[in-house]
């Protein structure tokens, strides 16, 4: 190694500062990887405290492993350091996109996650020891340790602030990890100038740095295919799952100890209070029905309504019809969703049909009747969903409801979309059904509405399944009372050839925006 020439004395000081800046950057990056993995694990695997601690623990011990392994790295330290940065950049940078892609696609997500955590942790663990050795000749030992470690902890502070305040809200998880990888790669490239004289084969090393930078930039550009920046900005929590199925965009976001499912940007449930929604959707119909053996669930591919249905011991068969195979797959394959629905779709009593509900009902043999029907479609904000709220659809529903049966229909919010809500009731009546509208408070939705229908006139039901979290026989009658701000307003009948409901709905939600 050549020693620095005398005129470089002042530049040498500047260079040391530059090297410490690099340490700062590197340790910031290291912490961000750690947080990203911890966040992902707690979001995706549920049970956030355990998962978070587990990942952090794993990551820290992997760092220890890296530090220990650093003893076997000898000679050409500067060049090794650059290579290390490139490795961190690649593995760390692509970790989130990789997890994002495997999540929901592979059966064993956990091993993939843990393997990545260990790998990144080990690589990051190598960084500081190598750096200490590179700087060994330049500084006195006590000063070296004091400075490097304090800068390292400072970097941790920077990372822990940037991650929740800037990176995730602005970029989302996937871009955060790629961007941080890019920082690592750039630090590597920068090092080839800072320690130029210590690196042999400079052009080749720089070319490699360049290649990694390009790869990460490509990754950033390609990240749009997973989630667009616009989409990230739409949601208040980071997106951890997002797929464009043939029918809709499915997005799961997570944060603050809960997760949410969105279809085409509309909230379907939040794990915090979905039990209120699904109890209200399912149990009143069970209380109203004369028999409870044959059950039909239309929509609701997330399996949460089916979970409530399966709590009734009399149920012999549940048919779930959801057009989107990606939704019913999500309910089975994504651990956090499967945990929430209790593996409902794997129950032997449940048969899953991926078909258009209207086409499926129309093709059903005339005699096929169901004791309880749960209709859980997204809100009628497009014509293709709006058709599932028409007289045509409700006549089919009527024809396949057992004479003693009962059905419940999610009917949007009577508070926020009052005319829409009453349009659904009016349409059900036109289809020959007897309707009892009701509503429930679901904090993440607001005041939510349902329609309970039967083929015969009926009273407000009682005799709910005991042991529910939200509903009881005492509170149920109140759900059927509508105060002045919710009470009935006149509305036209929604038909296939007018789809008036979509227009009502659009007008009412636009007013709110």
């Amino acid at each position: 190694m050549t020693s620095p020439s005398p005129p470089a004395a002042r530049p040498a000081a500047a260079r040391t500062t530059a090297l410490f800046t690099a340490v700062l950057l590197v340790s910031t990056c290291g912490l961000v990887y750690e947080l990203a993995a911890g966040a992902l694990a707690s979001y995706v695997l549920g049970d956030s405290v355990t998962q978070f601690s587990l990942v952090i623990g794993l990551y820290l011990s992997a760092m220890g492993l890296g530090a220990w392994l650093s003893r076997w790295i000898d000679g050409q330290l500067a060049r090794r350091f650059v290579d290390l940065e490139l490795a961190v950049a690649l593995v760390g940078g692509f970790s989130a996109p990789l997890l994002f892609l495997t999540f929901g696609r592979v059966a064993h997500f956990r091993p993939v996650l843990f393997a990545l955590v260990v790998l990144v942790g080990t690589l990051v663990g190598l960084e500081i020891p190598l750096f200490l050795r590179i700087l060994r000749q330049r500084l006195e030992f006590k000063e070296l340790v004091a400075k490097v470690l304090s800068v390292d902890y400072l970097g941790a502070l920077v990372g822990s602030l940037l991650f929740p305040l800037l990176l995730v809200p602005r970029l989302g998880l996937v871009r955060t990890s790629l961007a941080i990888g890019l920082v690592n790669a750039l630090v590597g490239l920068w090092t080839t100038w800072l320690l130029a004289e210590e690196i042999r084969g400079l052009p080749w090393v720089r070319a490699r740095c360049g290649a990694v930078v390009v790869l990460l930039l490509l990754g950033l550009a390609g990240a749009d295919r997973l989630t667009s920046l616009g989409e990230e900005a739409l949601f208040s929590d980071p997106i951890i799952y997002s797929r464009q199925s043939a029918y809709q965009r499915i997005v799961v976001t997570a944060g603050r100890g809960s997760f949410q499912l969105f279809l085409d940007g509309n909230l379907q449930f939040s794990s915090l209070d979905e039990y209120r929604y699904h109890e209200a959707l399912v149990h009143p119909a069970f209380a109203a029905a004369g028999r409870r053996e044959e059950v039909l669930v239309l929509g609701g591919g997330d399996g949460l309504a089916v979970r409530e249905v399966l709590r009734h011991p009399e149920v012999r068969r549940v048919t779930l019809v959801d057009i989107d195979p990606a939704m019913t797959a999500l309910a089975v394959d994504v651990p956090m969703v499967r945990q929430l629905n209790g593996g409902a779709l794997l129950d032997p009593r449940v048969q899953v049909v991926n078909e258009d509900a209207m086409a499926w009902l129309a093709a059903l043999p005339p005699g096929r009747r169901f004791d309880v029907v749960v209709v859980d479609f997204p809100d009628p904000n497009t014509f293709s969903v709006g058709k599932l709220y028409t007289t045509r659809f409700y006549r089919l529903l009527h024809d396949h409801l057992a004479p003693e049966g009962a059905a419940a229909i999610q009917s949007t919010s009577p508070l926020l979309a009052r005319t829409s809500f009453w349009c659904i009731a009016t349409t059900l009546e036109r289809a020959g059904l007897f309707v009892r509208p009701y509503h429930a408070a679901v904090p993440s939705f607001g005041e939510w509405g349902f329609s309970l229908v039967r083929r015969v006139p009926f009273a407000v039901p009682s005799g709910l399944l005991p042991g529910l979290r939200y509903l009881s026989d005492a509170v149920l009658p109140g759900l059927f009372e509508f105060g002045p701000d919710l009470s009935r307003v006149p509305a036209e009948v929604n038909r296939l050839d007018n789809q008036i409901l979509v227009h009502y709905y659009e007008a009412e939600w636009r007013r709110l925006e």
């Binding site: 258009d356 086409a359 014509f383 058709k387 050839d497």
Partner: protein, 539 residues
């Protein structure tokens, strides 16, 4: 025709706006395939050729119906209903239907011509009956028809592309000025007035079938002026109202404003409802081929396809029909008590070269149409209001496209696949020239027209097309130019010649399913009357 450059092609067929978007130079190869077909291209030639040797076989039938379009099939339907079962229907095409023919594919069936039937008013008894037979309607407790929601055209029915996005409805409201809206309002008020108007005999001003409407002189006088003149006298000069009204003329008659009879143009707007509101209509993936299939089933084995009639000769009593296999082969002579000639007037005059028919044939002018069916593997990008059944491009001379899967919840392809049927009526004043343009058009040129037209609204359309098939209708439909509908030649054209009776939508001067049906039934009832079969008229 001399070869046109791509630009000229677009300019000629689709107009300046579409041509302006055309990249100059040779176009790259299209990433899909297709076929080009045409119905009546060589008919005249084939008729001359077929007038050869004496027929080898001869047979008898009480009635022979020439032409298995909606008119001919309706005549057969009416005969069957009256118990007259010894008839034959001779249809040239490989399938029945004529201009109401449809096609099938792996994803869905689709129309090649007529694609909808407006819900009939109660006075249109035969159309009501047909709707009931189709299972599209049933009689409610109040005696009025209740139409099947699944067969009524679903919402959204129409959208229009203006500027860079789609908007709901057909009238281009986006960017309309106060004056534009005022003009629309004025026009609609006039339509409402005409809808509500009843003559001294209590008849509507305009009705479908038109025989149920008024023939008061002040109304028929509208036939003597063009729609352009009518708009002018009412001070409706804005581009938007003129586009909107002209769209109706192009869509229903294949004519521009200056060439459409004002009576015919107003008939389109004021004949279906009592209040001028949007009319309900019935439609199916295959369009009116649904009706054809139903009627053809009723005719059963009495309907022969691939049967080219080469001459019809009235006898002292009865008439004689010569028919040959369309693909060549020995001819057959059929002697019939009565014949229904359910073909366009120009064809009728060829088969039966009577001076009256020949004079009429010169006055009956048919327009040329280009129709394309686009098999899409997925939907292309589209901005603004979502896909409707009928999708119209403001600023293009095409009529836009209808979506074959609009009425179905499940079809044979992957989720986004469908078939779009794209229509273009050649409104050139000289029908002969338009006809020649059309026949000179290759598949590739036609496909390029379609793609250039749709690219404005759907930039990635080319990548979405699995295949694109083209049909050139040389003589697509009768053109109600000023003076035609209430002119003497049209009014006398339905009169029988001896035992030869006439049916076809041409005879109304309006190309409509209901008119075709009306004339078919009328001709059949004339025959039933001659045969003294006692039956109440369905008209």
């Amino acid at each position: 025709m001399t070869r046109l450059s791509r630009r000229e092609l677009l300019l000629t067929f689709l107009g300046p706006l579409v041509a302006a978007g055309c990249r100059s130079g040779r176009a790259p190869a299209l990433p899909f395939e297709g076929t080009v077909a045409g119905a009546d291209d060589g008919l005249g030639h084939r008729l001359r050729q077929a007038a050869g040797p004496e027929p080898a076989r001869s047979s008898r039938a009480e009635v022979v119906v020439v032409g298995g379009g909606l008119a001919g099939l309706s005549a057969a339907w009416r005969l069957s209903r009256a118990g007259l079962e010894d008839y034959r229907v001779l249809e040239l095409g490989a399938a029945p239907g004529g201009t109401s023919v449809g096609g099938t594919g792996p994803v869905t069936a689709f129309p090649w011509g007529a694609h909808y039937l407006p819900c009939p008013q109660p006075h249109a008894r035969a159309v009501e009956l047909l709707a009931e037979e189709l299972g599209a309607a049933r009689r409610g407790s109040d005696g009025r028809l209740v139409f099947d929601e699944a067969q009524l055209c679903r919402a959204p029915q129409e959208r229009v592309f203006v500027g860079d996005r789609w908007y709901e409805g057909l009238y281009p409201r986006a960017g309309a000025t106060a004056r534009d809206r005022e003009e629309l309002e004025l026009f609609q008020a006039e339509v409402r007035r005409l809808c509500a108007l009843r003559d001294a005999r209590g008849r509507r001003a305009f009705a479908v079938p038109m025989a149920h409407g008024s023939d008061d002189a002040d109304l028929t006088a509208l036939d003597r002026i063009s729609m352009a003149e009518w708009l002018e006298t009412r001070g409706l000069r804005g581009e938007r109202i003129r586009w909107f009204v002209e769209y109706g003329c192009r869509d229903d008659y294949g004519l521009g404003l200056a060439d459409t009879s004002a009576w015919a143009a107003l008939h389109y707007h004021a004949s279906r409802t009592d209040d001028g509101g949007p009319d309900d209509l019935l439609t199916w993936p295959e369009g009116n081929a649904r009706i054809v299939a139903h009627l053809a089933r009723r005719a059963g084995p009495r309907l022969a396809t691939g049967a080219l009639v080469t001459s019809v000769r009235p006898l002292a009593r009865g008439a004689e029909v010569v028919v040959a296999p369309a693909g060549g082969g020995p001819a057959e002579r059929i002697t019939a008590g009565q014949v229904v000639l359910a073909v366009p007037r120009t064809v009728a005059a060829r088969l039966l070269p009577h001076p009256r028919l020949q004079a009429e044939a010169r006055a009956f002018e048919a327009g040329a149409w280009l129709v394309a069916n686009l098999g899409l593997r997925r939907r292309p990008r589209s901005r603004g209001f979502p896909e409707a059944w009928d999708n119209v491009l403001h600023g293009s001379r095409s009529l836009g496209y209808v979506v074959a899967t609009h009425q179905v919840d499940r079809h044979g392809g992957p989720p986004g696949a469908t078939v779009w049927t794209w229509y273009l009526s050649l409104t050139a004043r000289d029908a002969g020239e338009a006809h020649r343009w059309l026949l000179g058009l290759s598949w590739r040129e036609a496909a390029e027209l379609v793609v250039a037209d749709l690219r404005r609204a759907h930039p990635d359309i080319e990548q979405c097309i699995e295949r694109l098939d083209v049909w050139r209708w040389g003589h697509a439909m009768i053109r109600p130019r000023p003076g035609f509908v209430f002119g003497p030649l049209r009014r006398g054209a339905a009169e029988p010649l001896g035992d030869v009776h006439f049916a076809h939508t041409d005879l109304s001067g309006l190309p409509l399913a209901e008119e075709a049906q009306w004339h078919g039934i009328r001709a059949a009832e004339e025959i039933l009357a001659r045969r003294r079969v006692r039956t109440d008229s369905l008209l």
